[in-house]
């Protein structure tokens, strides 16, 4: 693919496995509990740039979690078949870990570069959760 550029990020495995797909990137933290619609698979946080934007099948890339323990709702989207295909975040805590354990998709964090600065929505991303390696095929 002559018109693509590949970038590789190295991070820490949270959940293993391999997955790939199109990126959906949030530069604003994600908030759970009532502000993640578990059945629809999107945020319903008012003012959020990704309001009602489905993350089903996407590689969901975001900065940080914020707010309630109900952040785990991101993981529970799996019960409704609307979960992301991989979960990548710059910095997390046990809320992102619990969400990932519920989501059961390749999950990587603590990267050598800020993933929300490198990856743009629409980039094609391959995630090797076991080795914490993320390959980004940049559009253009």
């Amino acid at each position: 693919m002559a018109d693509t550029k590949k970038v590789v990020l190295k991070g820490r495995k949270v959940i293993g496995g391999v997955a790939e797909g199109e990126a959906l990137v949030s530069k604003m933290p994600l908030m759970g509990w009532g502000n993640v619609n578990v059945k629809g698979g999107f945020t319903v946080e008012r003012n959020h740039p990704l309001y009602e934007v489905p993350f089903k099948g996407k590689v969901l890339v975001f900065t940080e979690p914020r707010g309630s323990g109900g952040f785990v709702g991101y993981g529970r989207t799996r019960q409704f078949g609307v979960n992301p295909t991989a979960f990548l975040y710059r910095k997390g805590n046990n809320l992102t870990v619990f969400a990932a354990m519920n989501m059961k998709v390749p999950t990587v964090t603590d990267f050598d570069q800020d993933p929300t600065a490198v990856i743009e929505t629409g980039d094609y991303v391959r995630v090797d959760g076991d080795n914490g390696i993320v390959e980004v095929l940049k559009r253009k």
């Binding site: 009532g34 940080e64 914020r66 707010g67 323990g69 805590n93 519920n102």
Partner: protein
């Protein structure tokens, strides 16, 4: 993850099947979190009774019943946060006027599963601020496992105990948690210096300040200077907003909180990564973010996020005394403070004015159960910012202001609050 011989024994089933399952959860969780070992809890646990963080590792009601029958206990003092699965009103539900909570059968059905938890030693505090009434606190330097936005910073910053957001059956039963993040000293050092350049006067100011700092700090550990002398209620509000507008689970107030006698101690001699100044304009910006309404007709007022303490209930009773509300008003507290309010006649005063004193839940926790309304008013940024998502796809307008603004709206049916 490194395991001691005792922990390996638990994993091998030497302390029974339930202990083994609890250990399997802690190991899976610790591995995913990057923890190198477990830590023995010597503080307290605050948990959402009936809730399991990861359903793959659920301990069934039958298993918990069996443990209770055998006389087994939680390893450390354990307190009930709100029940979440489902949430329900603990006191005052008889008059709340909404379903399913005003149905006595519903209340009974919700309470039943917790009998074995209580027999195992869980204190039936059933509140997001159970720490205000728990009668014991973990000592400085102990390891705990708590939950809830306002509670986790209370454990870490105010009490100096070490807690992630991971209270649950497993941590309470084994008395262990993965040793990472807030359990490790190096992660508790301040990284951001926050200077408050305006005077924080009202409870609302602390709520707004917490949100502004949370947004700016995310997962960082701020040292807060220039914030005056907050009351208990103001700290609770600030904590709730710090951990909703952001993910601040630990901070220092030099000279006030136990791990930082001075600013230098807060940073352990290192230079701050970032310095932030919060001005009155920042508070105004958050106030505007919380004002999510245009219709000045108010049809429901919600107070008590986090659950009101006794001083806040006295204030509400004073404002309502001898008056009559035009709109439904719910005033939420924790079950033990509810009992004090009953004895003090505050419940009577609130009820005579047409309000409802309730305990143990909130509209958000009840998945939006509230008197029929298109426009609500509240004095809590946390409840304000979540409730519109919780009632989705229903549209709900939300006014935000001081407790006084909200009470005036309850009495007149009109919103008159404004930025002052």
């Amino acid at each position: 993850m490194f395991l001691t011989d005792e922990e390996k024994g638990i994993l091998d089933g030497k302390q029974g099947n339930v202990a083994q399952k609890c250990m399997q959860f802690l190991i899976a969780y610790g591995d995913a979190a990057g923890a190198e070992r477990l830590v023995d809890l010597n503080g307290t646990v605050d948990l959402h009774p009936g809730q399991f963080w990861v359903p793959d590792y659920v301990i069934t009601p039958e298993e918990i019943q069996t443990l209770a029958d055998k006389g087994e206990k939680f390893k450390v003092p354990t307190f009930a946060n709100k029940a979440t699965n489902p949430g329900f009103i603990f006191d005052g539900w008889e008059g709340c006027g909404t379903l399913p909570n005003s149905d006595p059968e519903y209340h009974k059905k919700c309470m039943e599963p917790f009998t074995p938890w209580i027999r195992m030693g869980m204190v039936p505090t059933f509140s997001c601020d159970s720490y205000l009434v728990s009668s014991v606190w973990p000592a400085v330097g102990t390891h705990s496992a708590w939950v809830e936005s306002s509670a986790v910073p209370w454990a870490n910053a105010i009490l100096g105990s070490r807690s992630n957001f991971d209270g649950c059956f497993q941590t309470a039963y084994l008395g262990k948690a993965p040793a990472y993040d807030m359990h490790l000293n190096e992660n508790r050092v301040a990284t951001v210096l926050v200077e408050c350049a305006c005077e924080l006067r009202t409870d609302m100011d602390y709520d707004l300040f917490g949100w502004a700092v949370g947004e700016a700090c995310g997962l960082e550990v701020p040292a807060l200077v220039g914030i005056g002398k907050p009351t208990t209620g103001q700290i609770v509000k600030m904590n709730s907003s710090l951990n909703t507008g952001g993910q601040v689970r630990m901070y220092h107030i030099p000279g006030v909180t136990p791990e930082a006698p001075t600013v230098e101690d807060a940073f352990k001699g290192s230079k701050y990564k970032k310095k932030i100044t919060i001005t009155r304009n920042d508070l105004k910006r958050v106030y505007e973010l919380m004002t999510y309404a245009t219709d000045d007709h108010v049809d429901f007022v919600y107070l008590g996020c986090p659950h009101y303490n006794i001083e806040e209930l006295q204030k509400v009773a004073r404002l309502l005394d001898g008056k009559k509300c035009k709109t439904p008003v719910w005033v939420m507290t924790n079950p033990l403070t509810f009992r004090a309010a009953e004895m003090m006649g505050l419940q009577d005063t609130i009820q005579r004015a047409g309000g409802n004193l309730l305990s143990g839940a909130c509209c958000g926790l009840l998945m939006g159960e509230m008197p029929p309304s298109a426009v609500m008013a509240t004095d809590a940024a946390k409840q304000d910012y979540y409730i519109t998502g919780i009632v989705y796809p229903k549209k709900l307008q939300v006014w935000y202001g001081t407790t006084e603004d909200c009470i005036e709206a309850a009495l007149t049916g009109k919103w008159r609050g404004e930025w002052r």
